[in-house]
Symmetry: D2
Subunit: 446 residues, 4 copies
C-alpha cells in the first residue's frame, strides 16, 4: 500500500451540488471528493487520489467496479444495438438471463423459483414481495424485525425499523408488526419463542400475518446475523401459521455471505426471495423477486414498472453468473476471505474490548457509538480507504469489501482500519477494561 | 414502407418465460416475439422481422432506440472505466448532468429547482415527492385525480386510480382523495370549481391536503389532457390552501407534449416535478424529483436508494439534453409532428364517428372498447407496427411514436393504424351514425 | 307567553365546572344557567327562570321532558326492582320492547328487521352498522356524504364530515370516501349521477364500497334534506354495486320528520338503520341497529358493550311506542306542526332574503353566518327560548321543538325567534336586496 | 342456601329473541332464562327461580342490584321532574356529582383530575382518552398490551387484543402496538424491560408512543394482575418517553380491587383514567374520562356525545359515592371479602393442580380450557349461581361477586363453584399430578 497515491488534499468545486442537488444527499458529505474513474477495488478522484473501496456501493459491487468481463459484455451489447429498453417484452438478453439463472443458480441448488422483474431497485422488489404475500394469503399484516431495512417507498418503509427513515413518510406506517430479531434481547432469550407465543395466543393483539420478512444478516441494521436455528424456527412458524417466508437477500445475497443466496444450506427454503444490489454485477439498477411457482397468482400487469426489464443489467448479470457462479471456486474464495476478515476484526475487537458482528464478507465491529465510528471512518478516508457505518446508532464500522479483492490488498485495507481504530480508541488495559468510551450498552440511546 | 420485412410468422421458443418468468408479464403476451436489436424507430425480432415502434417504451424512448450520439457517449464512458455505481457520491458524470440541467433546461425557462435523485424509476420519484409534500406541510392527505397513474409502490399506488392496480396492494390505500380530473363530468362541469367548494367547506369531509398530484396529460388514464385554465386553477387552489402543486411529468415530460416540461407556457410553476422514463434519453433506469429550493427540508439520507445515482444514465441524459434541447429546433419538430398526428387521428375519428384525445406527440383515438382496441393493435402488430392502448377500459389506441421519427415513416405508421381501424370499425354512414359498436359511453363499465 | 317568568339575570356558581369539568363542555357556555327541573316543553333553572326548549336534546326529547306516561312506567319499574342492568340477558323489559317494536313499528310498515343492541349511544350504533357492512361485503370502504355527522368514536368519526370534529382524532381517518350530498353543488347538478359515474369507472380511484351511510336530513350538517328521488338513486346504486344502504336515522327518526322512520313512503328500504336519541322516549341512553335478517351474520359477542341492554330505556321506549305510535294521530299532529314551522320560517326567510332548510319538525333558517346565528340564539335565550345552530359554519338556526308541543306555545316560541332575527338582520328593502350581511354564499368559507 | 328456590326447569318463550334480536347476543345463550326482578345479590327469573349473581354485570353492579339507597335517590329525582337529558348543560345533578367526586374521591386521595363526560359507555371513555393523548403529544401510536380489552368502537378496538373482537372490525386496526403485559413471558422475563429496550432503540420499528393504555387487572383478558413494580416502570417509561399513562379502570375500578381506583397506593399517578361500569352504582350507562388539568386542551365540543350527561346516573353515582366511599369501612369490607375469595380459590386450585389469578374481589381460577370452564359455569347455573369465564381461551372461571355480599352468602356461592369444579375436574392424586385434562399450557392454542 505504500505506493498508493494519497487522496488529494483539496476538495472539488462542489457549488453545483449545493446549488442544484437536494440536501438529501448523504455519503458525499463525509467523502467530499469527486470521483471520475473506478476499476476493480479502486475508486479514483478527479485530482488523482485513489481509494480502496470497502463500501462497494453498500454491497452493490461485490465483483468490484467495472469488472472487465462484465464491461466487455455490456460494451459489445450496446455496440451491436442490443435492445436497451423494452418494458417486459421478450428479448434475447432476457432469455439468456433467465436460462442462466436456471442453469447456474437455481438447478444446482435444487431451487424452483420464478422471476418477477419489478422496478429496478430493491424497494420495488420488496413492495412486489409483500403485495404478493398479501394477495396470496388474503391477510394484511406483515411481520418484520427490529433493525430491519427494506427500502424507502411506503410499503417497504413500513417494514423498515429505522425511526429517521420512517419519520420521512409523513403518514403513519401500518399493516406491519416489528418483532425482535434473533439475539435482540440477548443470548438467553429466544425471540422466535416470544413470537410463537404471541402468534398462538388469540388475545395477543398480533393479527394473523401474511408474511415474515427477514434478512439473514441485517446490512443496515448493524450486521446482526441470525442463526440458522432461529431462521428455521421462523420458517416453521410461517408455515404453521399460513404466512409466507420472505428472505430479503438484497444486501446479503449475491455472494456477500458466501453462497449466491445467504440462506443456502440452512435447512429451509423461503417462499419468496428479493434480490437487487449486486445482481447486475456491475452496479446497474436491477431487482428481482423470486417466488415459488405455486404462489404465482399475479394477473398480467398487476404489478409493473417502466424499467422492469433493464436489458443492460440482464447482460451483465448473465455474464456475472457465468463468470463467478458456474464454478465452486468463487464461493471458496469468499469463505477464505471471510475468515481473514473475521480474524482481523476479532483481533481489533479483542485489543479494544469491542465486539464483532456479521457473517462471511459482511462483517463489522461495534465501536460503541456513532461519533467514534465517524472518527474512525474519517481517518480511514484520509488514508485512502472508503468505509462506512451501520446500526441503529451508526456505531458499527462495516466492512463490505469487494468479494474479488486479492488477499494482500484486503490485508492492507484492514491495516488502515486497524490503525484508525487504534488511533481513536484506547486499548484494553491489563485488567481487561478499556479506558476509552466504547463501552456504551448497545441498543440504548442517550 | 414497402421494403419493411414482415414480422416473422413463427413465435420464438417461449418455454423459458413460461417456466421462469412470473405470470405478471404483460406486453409480451400481445407481442409474442423475441427482440434482439433496436435502432432508431425500429425494433427487430430474432427471426428477421422488424417493427415500427409507436409505443416507445411508454414514452421512455422519446429519442428512439439507441440514438447514436447517446450510445457513443455511453460506450466511451464505460470504456474509460467511468464510475458506474457510487451511491450518491459526487462523480464527474453527476456534475456534468447537474450543470447541463441547469444551463440547458432550467435557466432558459427561468425555473429554479433542485434535483433529488431517487430510486431509478418513476414510482420512486413520486414517493419522494409526496413524502416531501407531507413533510413540508405537516399534512397527510394528497389530492390525486381520477384516471391518474403514478406508480406501483404503496405510496404512489394510493395515488393511482386504476382498480386493478390498486387491488394488487392487498391493503387499503389511504391518505389520498381521488378528485375528478378536468373534463371528468363533461365539458359543462368545471371540476376545479367542485374541488374548490369542497376544500373551502369545513364540513365536506375532505381533509386539508398536503399536495395536489397531477399529470397534465394522463398517459395511462386515457390521454386526457387538462386545459391550461384548469391547471392554473388547481395551482391557485393549492397555493390558497397551503398545499404543494406536484406535476407528475414522467410520461408527458421530456418533450412528449412539446416542451421539455409539459407545463411550459401555461402560466404556473409547480412546486415539485417528477421525471423519469425518457429522462436518460436511452431508456436507462433514471428518475428525478425536482423541487423548489425553499422546500428542500430533507435531512441527509432521509430518503435514499441504492441506485439513486445511475451514472450511465447521467451520461446519456447529459448527451440527450445537449443534443436535443440546446436548440429550439427540436421543439419545433415535435410541434410539427404533433400536428401531423392530430390531423391524421382527427381524420380517422371523423370517418368512424370517434373522438381523439391528447396533446403534442401524446395522442390517441377512443375506439369505444378495449376489445375493439385490442383487435386494432393486434392487426397493427401483424403489419409491423407496435402500438398499445390506454384508458380505464383500454379503449384508447395510443400513439407514442418516437419524437425523432421522420415524417414519411410517421405517415407510413399512421397508415397502418388507419387501415387497422378501418378493418375493425365500420365507417359512419351518410346519416352520421356508425354501424359499428364503438359508441359505448366512455367511463361507464358494463 | 306573557306569563312566562323571565330567566334569571344572575348566573349560578359555576366554579365547580371550571374546576372539575373539562373544557370540552360546549352548550353550557352559551346557556350559562343551572337547570334543576324539566317538564314537557319547559326547562327550569335553579333561580326560577323557565325556558321553552327548541333544542330538545338535539332531537333526543321528541316527546318532551319527563313525559308523564313514560315517567310513570319507569318509576313503577324501578319501584318493583325490575332488572336495571343485565348485559344482554333476557329480561321481561327486553321482551316487551322487542314485541312492541315488532307490533307497533315494524309490522304496520311491512319492515322486517332484527334489533342489535349496541352500546347506548348513536356512535355505537353506527360503529356496529359499518362493521356489519364490512363483514357482510368483505369490503372496507364506506361512502359517507358531505356534511354528514355520525359520531365521535373513530369508526363513526371517519364518516363524519366536520373538520373540527375530525381533527380531534389525532390519527388519519380512513376507509371512507366523502361524496357530495344531494344538492351539494346546487340544484342543477345531480350528485347521485356524479357518484354513479365514479363507481362505474374502474379507474376513478373510488374503491368498491361496503356501504352508503346516509342521513335523509342532515341534523348537524345544516338540515339539508335529501329528496326521495336522490335517496332512491343512492339505494339503487348500493344494490347495483353490492353495497349496503345504511340510513342513519338517529336524529331524523322517531318522528322528527313525520313518520317513525324518516324514510317511510320513499320507495326504498334500507339494509340497516341506526336509531338512538329519542328512541328511549325520555332521554335515556339507548341505541339500536336494525338489520335485515339475511345480514345477521354476527357471531355471538362479536360486537358487544356493557350497557347494550339498558332496561330502563326498554321500559320507556316501550311506553313511548305504545303512547305515540300505536295510533296514526301522532303522525298527523307532527305533519300539522311541521307545516306551521315551514310557514313561519318561510315568512322569516322571505322578510330577510334568507332561505330555509329541512323537513317535518326538523327545519332551520340559514342566516348567513355563524356570528349572526349566535347573536340570534343568544337573543332567544335571553327571552327564554333554548335554540341552537347547525351547519358547516353554524349558520343555520335550527328548530327542534318537541313534537308534542301545543300549537299556541309553538307559535309563541317562533315569535321569539322571529323577533330575534328581526333585531339582528335588516329586512330586505323594496328592491329585493337585504342591507344586512347574510348574503354570504353557503358552503364557502372566508 | 338450602332455602334457595331452585331455578326453574322450563325455559321461557324465546321466540321473540330468535325473531327479532340479532344473533350477536351472547350471555343469554348460556343462561337461557328471562329475568324479571333483581335485588342485591340476587336475580329472579320469570318462573320463580333465583340466582346468586357472581357476574355482576361484568363488574357494573359492584353494589348489587337496585341498592335501596341508590334506588330511592333515583325515584325521588324522577318523581320531582329532575332533568333527565340535557346534553352537557349544567344541572343540579351534575353539580352535585362533580362536588361529590371532588370531596369524596379526589381530595382524600390527593388526586387532581378534571372530568370529561363522554358517551355513556366504557369504549367512549377510552376513545376520548386516546384522542386526547394523541392531541396532546402530536403522536399517533398507542401502546396497548396483550390480552387487553378496551372496547368495541374502532379506536378502542384497535387497542383490544382479542382476535375475535378485532376480526369484527372489517378494516385493519392501526396506530397501536400490542406489547407483552406483565408476566406474559413468565416470571423470569420482565416485559417492561423488553419494552424499554425497544423504545430506546431508534431502529426497533416501534414509533414514539402517544400513550400507554393499561389495565391494572385485565378483566376480560384472564384476570392477569400487574405488579405495582411493573406498573411503576411503565409509568416511568411513559414519562421518560413523553407519552401519557392511561389507566383503563373501567372494570377494575370502583372498588373491585379494593380502593376506588385500582392503582391507589401503587406509587404512581396516571395522566388519564377511564371509568364506567360500576360508576353509576346502579348499572345505568355512564362513563367518565378523568384527566390531569394540564392536559385539558380540548376545544369546546371537540369530542361530544348525545348522552354525555346522563343525569339519572349523576344521581345514583352521587348516592353511591356518599354511601360507600365517604367512610373507609367499605374498603375494609372489600379487603376481607377479597381474602376469603383468595383463600377459597387457592384451596380449589391446590386440590386440582390449578392456578389462580387476580386481585381483591376480582379473581379467577384457571381450569385449563374453555370447554372445562363452560362445563363448570353450566353446572353452577343449574345450581343457581351466575358465573362466567374470561381469558384468551375462556379458560378462567371468573368471580365478580357484588362487593356488598354478606360473608355467608359469599361462602355459599363459592361452595357451589367448588363443587362444580370438583364434579368436572379430577383432584390431584398423591403423586401430585392430576388425572384431569386441565394441564394445558396457558397461552398456547390447540
Amino acid at each position: 500500500m505504500t505506493t498508493t497515491p494519497k487522496p488529494s488534499a483539496t476538495t472539488p468545486d462542489t457549488k453545483i451540488y449545493e446549488r442544484r442537488e437536494s440536501t438529501v444527499r448523504s455519503y458525499s458529505r463525509s467523502m467530499p471528493r469527486q470521483f471520475n474513474r473506478a476499476q476493480g477495488v479502486w475508486m479514483h478522484d478527479s485530482e488523482g487520489g485513489r481509494y480502496l473501496d470497502f463500501l462497494s456501493g453498500c454491497s452493490s459491487l461485490n465483483y468490484g467496479h467495472n469488472h472487465p468481463v462484465l464491461k466487455q459484455a455490456l460494451v459489445d451489447y450496446i455496440a451491436s444495438d442490443g435492445v436497451t429498453h423494452a418494458l417486459d417484452l421478450h428479448t434475447d438478453a432476457k432469455a439468456r438471463f433467465l436460462s442462466t439463472l436456471e442453469d447456474v443458480i437455481l438447478k444446482p441448488r435444487s431451487l424452483n423459483y420464478r422471476a418477477m422483474f419489478t422496478g429496478p431497485t430493491g424497494t420495488n422488489a420488496v413492495e412486489a414481495a409483500i403485495k404478493l404475500a398479501r394477495k396470496v394469503t388474503g391477510r394484511e399484516m406483515v411481520v418484520a424485525f427490529t433493525n430491519g431495512f427494506h427500502g424507502m417507498t411506503l410499503g417497504a418503509l413500513a417494514c423498515t425499523g429505522n425511526a429517521g427513515k420512517r419519520g420521512g413518510a409523513g403518514v403513519p406506517l401500518g399493516h406491519v408488526s416489528h418483532e425482535p430479531y434473533d439475539g435482540y434481547y440477548g443470548d438467553e432469550v429466544d425471540t422466535a419463542d416470544l413470537l410463537e407465543q404471541r402468534l398462538e395466543d388469540p388475545s395477543s393483539g398480533l393479527d394473523a400475518p401474511a408474511a415474515f420478512l427477514v434478512e439473514t444478516v441485517q446490512g443496515e441494521g448493524g450486521l446482526n446475523a441470525a442463526s440458522p436455528e432461529w431462521l428455521r424456527k421462523i420458517a416453521a412458524l410461517a408455515k404453521k401459521h399460513g404466512a409466507l417466508m420472505i428472505v430479503d437477500d438484497i444486501q446479503a445475497g449475491c455472494g456477500r455471505t458466501g453462497g449466491f443466496f445467504s440462506f443456502e444450506d440452512m435447512g429451509f427454503t423461503p417462499d419468496i426471495v428479493t434480490l437487487a444490489k449486486s445482481l447486475s454485477g456491475m452496479g446497474l439498477p436491477f431487482a428481482l423477486t423470486l417466488l415459488r411457482p405455486e404462489l404465482d397468482v399475479w394477473k398480467p400487469g398487476e404489478h409493473n414498472g417502466t424499467f422492469r426489464g433493464n436489458n443492460h443489467a440482464f447482460v451483465t448479470a448473465t455474464a456475472a453468473m457465468r463468470e463467478f457462479w458456474a464454478d465452486p471456486k468463487f464461493a471458496g474464495d469468499i469463505a477464505r476471505r471471510g475468515r481473514i476478515l473475521e480474524q482481523r476484526l476479532e483481533r481489533m475487537a479483542k485489543r479494544h474490548g469491542l465486539s464483532t458482528r456479521g457473517r462471511g464478507m459482511m462483517r463489522g465491529i461495534n465501536v460503541g457509538s456513532g461519533d467514534v465510528a465517524e472518527k474512525i471512518t474519517g481517518t480511514c478516508f484520509a488514508e485512502g480507504l472508503i468505509i462506512e457505518t451501520s446500526g441503529a446508532h451508526d456505531e458499527i464500522v462495516k466492512v463490505l469489501a469487494p468479494l474479488v479483492i486479492d488477499d494482500d490488498t484486503f490485508q492492507a485495507g484492514l491495516d488502515i482500519l486497524e490503525e484508525a481504530i487504534a488511533e481513536t480508541i484506547a486499548p484494553v488495559d491489563a485488567s481487561g477494561t478499556t479506558s476509552g468510551k466504547s463501552d456504551r450498552k448497545l441498543g440504548l440511546a442517550a
